[in-house]
Symmetry: D2
Subunit: 438 residues, 4 copies
């Protein structure tokens, strides 16, 4: 078997004294944080598409990387080679999960039947590699956006045949995900939306989308796939407006169409900020609504208006994310999938290692620090006190829904009602810094 | 009675040949567009706060306007004078509706009881003026954001007494709105959100907000107020993050808390764009979900990141807005409320006329042109054709929810499924221009 | 010779009564506006890259269009076919100018020498077609951003050999531009900037860039190319930060390095808005500094954070742009180049016609309306009056630089200095609407 | 003398083990970093306006804070009280500089003469306090934006009398700044720009602005004020478009009008991001052009579109800022002025301490970490290597401007010119984290 990363040994934890860029300085998989190991908490996953399939194209430039495993002309040879490279990479990196679209695995063929045949062969190879390495499938998904057929949507296409094609693709992707014991299945609707309202029947499209998701739920039941269904929201790009704009937009849709009991969310940091929210906001919103499913761990550049999908090296943001995840009781059966790609100038294979290590260490730090903040109840105690007027008396009645406008009016009609306690934002930011840089 | 706009006569329709800036060139209230008059279609409303109460303060500057009617030291004298100015202005302008917050009408007094007494007196005066002029109340609302008491929210305050105070304020505002035959009641939650998640119990706050709205619904029933309840979403400003981010965010909330049957939406153009949507998108989304209630007719500046609330002089945008409103079967019992203020340098009283006329003419044009586009089925025919594969066969089964993934797979497994019909965006944009500039 | 647009006849002016989408409704090339024809005013140009070379790829999808002329495997065959298609298209459209990068014309070969040979052959063909059709080259430029070699810049590369290669490419592009009597030469520095400051020597890069431009100026002199050099600013995309951020940023650079006498600006609407300016702002700024050279006529979507390069169908914006151009005394030797591409779903050849027609008609309207506004001195008279305190007395001394702080203090020390005249923004917006929709 | 912060003792350095929020954990003024103390490096300054004059108003709410020192009705009493509170605060905080506008010190009176008289009295008090405490004036400036007179600009007003008034105000502010031994004088042109181009003579306004600045330079010479003149750029807010958009925009202006030798820049973090740049970018750009003068140390919220002026608690950003400042050889005679205000809900006096401490500690950390990164040449070595092809041969000739297009073409015509070295962004981000969280 070809070795694609010859100069790279298994990446090991060496601690923070070393500056070795091919080792972990904070991520120590076996280290216990609370009652789980770091590996159990973080459930890192490699994104097959960014790391093995794509090669650094952007809107103004062709591929900058030349991955050896993609150079085969025969589609099956290429698929095998890419698969081998993937499992070698993940083994050396020590990541136990991956995520993939159907079309990352094999190139599309003339007919769906032929593509599916190729997929079946590749799935056998993947199963072998999974068995050998212990690496698992975090989630599967279907690419319904790259082929020109989907230029105007898939489950919201204006064309019934294309809708049918998309449905058939998801059917197969569900089967594969089940076959590989995938723990979740994700819908990212990058073309489910519109370029212009002038030509769009939004109502029909949304109804069709709801039917599509119901069929997916039904088919999963039929084949016994019991992984978690996830929606990954993104407000725009590639489409001018995408229906799964943010978690709340999608949650409104799921509720309206009685789909909310079947779906949770895969929240991506960069998609959160494109929608005008912080990453933490989307996590918090999902958490309190009990719909936080999984995370696409990356970061965006808030001065840029597109999805840069950078490796998540911002420790501060990762602390806030891990804080929500710990409060959620963990992220399983979801995980932290690096939906991140190396910058176009970081075109060497070794950059793939540097980048994942950077993200893993930065999230390990996030975990360590968030756990410390939680254990010391730094924020919890403050918040508890801030809202303590709701713990008894009229406040308690409000919370319990046992009062009404008349009673409340009487309560305040002649009262001098002053201002609330100071919000103390700067105090809290400072306190957080003391924990993070201690 | 004092006359505040002495040099201004009633604004009349003069047609588009004239360049008289104190006359209407497109807005001809009696002109029939389809089966309704322009006045019936447009239901224009003046915003009491922007036009009569506020005086042009901004973050870096004090008031630029010096309205005579606000110069009284006695609070009742001031309230009466402002009221008289308002009705004189609206009469001369020929607008038949106004909207108001409780605190636009009278200044807040030491206790709620005293403020309410003052309000009662003022309401008598307003009723007289309404009777004299035929002007009606489009909607009432309560100002729960200006007083320091509300610095950290009202129905989502961290303090139970402040929550109670807010409830009592809304109780009174509902009573006044009923007393004045207001046709709607609006909630704009400008401080219902958070400055920082570090100190925020989002779950408690949202639960409390839901209880608050349920109490409002209950109290309205109790007093027999049968106007439409409306939520006005805005994503941010003054607060870092507001819970009523956009229509869909709020709709998710309403559904979750079983409030969706009681509320529709008051959609503001500038709030739409602050949330990353076009105005038309928010209108369309509300329309197809049957929750389009009313409109705050203004425009923003997309290169600025705050709510500029400009008078809506962009005819093209108004065409798209009126297109959605016509498709909605009209906006009643809502209306087009000018939640717009003159630019700070437009500080003279006469600018209030120029600005409202500009907005009214630009929306009248929007109505005329949108109606023409609809009558000729310019977009309708195109859209019908674009989606016609869903009218029969497999497409029809998809729409009707009578198929499944297996059947759809069979249907396409060996089929060459090509690309959809061209989206023709540029063609449609050109066609629209031909209608608009004909 | 192959005919690529068989079903299309020459696009003719038919006037605004017709709704024929393959005809002009406002653009009447021979019609006189002031003392020039529309054709002379507008100097429309087709962008070779968007219309003939590119095929609709985006960040998440492959090409959606399948242009027949690009299907040849032999590079020269392909280059000839594309050239033939281009001249057929432009002839039928009635556009008299085109713009091109070197790499739009022919594919890059193994060595620069070979590419240049191919270019020489193609240039002969182009010259023939130019002679046959009367179509001219508005500007030439060099593509220094698509090839992976330029992933980290060209004239600001971190690698001297790549810098040299870029220089050699520009040398050849200048020769070709001269050979084809190009009237301008453009530098768009899409990769001249940085992805991260962490690895960047900004000072060295900017010095090198200045040397590069000086060498270009020197070489132009040497070969007798006397076209106008132009910088096209863009703040970001594809690079995180581009040095030619906006006109003023570039103007600071040009002044610092004594390049300002050799360069003017090619201003693109979408790049203006990405930099936080209106299109009109950039035009105005360039105009009053006498550095307005040419225009990339397109429009962006201000709710999207990337360069959508849409066809400029927004008439209102075009009025403001043409207003600046008329005040500039015209745009020659520059022109209005459609740096615009059809939306990805508008993939048919006929959409290329619809789109250019849409842009041409919308700019023709812009010209007609801007000219009317100027002739009636609608804004001029207002502005003259607004600043009239500077026409005499102390105001005149201020303008002439003949006073000082002491004299000015004496002048106001005991004076009641009030507020300026109202800015009348709403009045002016309304007035403009009256002109535009009359 | 009244004591306004009774419960607060002098804030001391206690080290990072303590969590006392009224002590410094990283800022140890006497600690040497390199060859200067922290105090000498950081030159912290308190902003008189945010901390002592303003009280938490926002666009939708009145003042949330009730500062005792502002409650006096007599203007001189108020001015004295505010001054006393300021010096008490700064002494307890241990900050050695402050910055102020003329109108922060005393309220404006009926005439300029009267205001100036009041100012003279207050200046005497300030001088006393400065002497007693050793606190110095970092920079003075004039408020030319709050009064309605300046609603349409000051040095770019459309009204000559207002221009004269502004000039007289700056004259006095220069005198005061000299009297107080101010080390710099700042121009922030918050209203120097336009609301709409429709009514604006941009050319006249910019010429007048240039004359204004020349007069300021002349008058400074006349009175012997030899502090550094600084421009503080900001792209928008309160005005739709401000001429001093960013450093480069202003630098173009300064060069054009021969003002560049007299002015450097006061760079504010939040203004940088509003203009689409990182704070580090603006610092770097100024540094390499030798125009970095001083810093307004705050931070913005990139998801909000207005100037939030938050206390700079983001340590990572502060590291990058201090990196540029150290590379600049320090910031003197400028400093780090906290142009920051407490959030509106942080309304208590003690929050003023929490907030300044948060900013001081976070910048002290920035200094410590940036110094470590520089001492280890972490980035320097990488950058040196990245560009090493410019150290000899053709690269050296390029840098020295000793080559030309012909020579460069010969050099590459038959050469296989590959891609540059990997940019290694992720590697560098990881490395930086290792330094920051070590
Ligand atoms: Co993702
Ligand atoms: Co993404
Ligand atoms: Co509103
Ligand atoms: Co608004
Ligand atoms: Co562009
Ligand atoms: Co361009
Ligand atoms: Co500042
Ligand atoms: Co600021």
């Amino acid at each position: 078997m070809a070795e694609y990363f010859k100069d790279i040994k298994k990446v090991e934890y060496v601690g923070k004294e070393s500056k070795d860029p091919l080792a972990f300085h904070y991520y120590d998989p076996e280290r216990k944080i609370g009652n789980k190991t770091m590996e159990e908490h973080l459930r890192f996953s490699v994104a097959y598409w960014h790391t093995f399939t794509a090669e650094g194209r952007d809107m103004f430039g062709v591929e900058s990387a030349n991955r050896e495993w993609n150079k085969f002309s025969d589609p099956l040879d290429k698929a095998y080679a890419r698969c081998d490279a993937a499992f070698e990479f993940m083994s050396k990196l020590g990541v136990k999960y991956f995520c993939t679209h159907d079309r990352d695995l094999v190139d599309e063929q003339e007919t769906l039947r032929e593509t599916n045949k190729l997929l079946d062969k590749l799935v056998e190879r993947i199963k072998e590699r999974m068995k050998e390495t212990g690496i698992k499938l975090l989630w599967g998904t279907s690419n319904l956006f790259t082929h020109p057929r989907f230029m105007q949507g898939a489950a919201t296409s204006c064309d019934a045949d294309i809708y049918a094609y998309a449905a058939a693709q998801v059917k197969k992707a569900l089967e594969i995900t089940k076959e590989l014991n995938g723990e979740n299945y994700v819908f990212w609707g990058g073309r489910e939306g519109y370029e212009t309202l002038l030509n769009t029947n939004m109502e029909l499209e949304l109804n069709n989308l709801a039917n599509f998701l119901h069929m997916a739920v039904d088919y999963a039941k039929e084949i016994g796939f019991d992984g978690q269904f996830l929606i990954e929201p993104k407000p725009k790009e590639p489409t001018k407006h995408q229906y799964d704009f943010d978690v709340a937009n999608s949650y409104a849709f799921l509720q309206k169409y009685d789909l909310d009991k079947y779906f949770k969310f895969n929240i991506e940091a960069n998609h959160a900020t494109l929608a005008g929210h912080t990453f933490q906001h989307e996590l918090r919103y999902a958490r309190i609504n009990n719909i936080l499913g999984s995370v696409d761990a990356n970061m965006g550049d808030l001065l840029l208006g597109w999805d840069t999908d950078q490796f998540p090296t911002n420790v501060f943001e990762n602390v806030l994310a891990m804080y929500e995840i710990l409060k959620n009781g963990g992220i399983a059966p979801g995980g932290l999938n690096f939906d991140s790609h190396v910058r176009r100038p970081s075109y060497e294979n070794i950059d793939l290692f540097y980048a994942h290590i950077a993200g893993m260490d930065a999230f390990a730090l996030g975990l360590i620090l968030a756990n410390k903040i939680l254990e010391d109840k730094v924020l919890e105690d403050f918040v508890e006190k801030r809202y303590n007027s709701f713990n008894e008396g009229m406040g308690k009645k409000i919370v319990d829904g046992r009062t009404n406008f008349k009673e409340l009016e009487e309560y305040v009609l002649d009262k001098k009602v002053g201002v609330p306690k100071s919000g103390r934002q700067e105090y809290l930011e400072n306190l957080l810094n003391l924990y993070i840089y201690e």
